[in-house]
């Protein structure tokens, strides 16, 4: 399933890598529920969030600058940062 990482830039303790925001990838697996660092960094107790492993093609991240566009990188990103494509 294809997803786009939200291109949001709020202040705070965000674990979603900046270089992946706005990029499109493929869900590789759903990992489970974890505490949300965006809450725990400030001693807040919000709901646990689902963590998802997303696979990106280098070409989809770096465009023509990618040395090998078909290489992939996987990142674990919270589901509330994903939007359907």
């Amino acid at each position: 399933m294809k997803v786009r990482i939200k291109s949001h830039w709020p202040p705070g303790h965000i674990r979603t890598p900046a270089y992946l925001r706005g990029k499109i990838g493929q869900i590789e697996r759903r990992i489970g529920l974890f505490n949300n660092p965006e809450d725990t960094a400030y001693r807040q107790t919000g709901p646990q969030r689902e963590l998802v492993r997303v696979r990106f093609r280098m070409a989809d991240i770096w465009g023509a600058r990618a040395e090998r566009g078909e290489d992939v990188i996987e990142a674990e990103i919270y589901a509330h940062w994903l939007e359907p494509v």
Partner: protein
């Protein structure tokens, strides 16, 4: 860090949050563990484990021992 985490006073995320909020200059002027202890200290104040006043007094006391372990002994 291990003790404070076990006591529920802070988390890895709260440690990182303060490190990130220090700004780029901290990475030029402070060592790795200076940044850690500064973050832990701020977290302990936030958690209510110690007051700024108590922390300031203790830091002054330690500073008065001298700049090196040799001077302190």
């Amino acid at each position: 860090m291990v003790l404070t985490s076990a006591a529920g006073l802070m988390t890895t995320d709260s440690l990182r949050r303060v490190l990130e909020d220090m700004g780029a200059e901290a990475y030029e002027t402070m060592t790795y563990y200076e940044r850690w202890i500064a973050s832990i200290a701020q977290n302990m104040v936030e958690a209510g484990a110690v007051t700024s006043d108590e922390l300031g007094a203790k830091m002054a006391e330690v500073r008065a021992r001298g700049a090196t372990y040799g001077a302190a002994s």
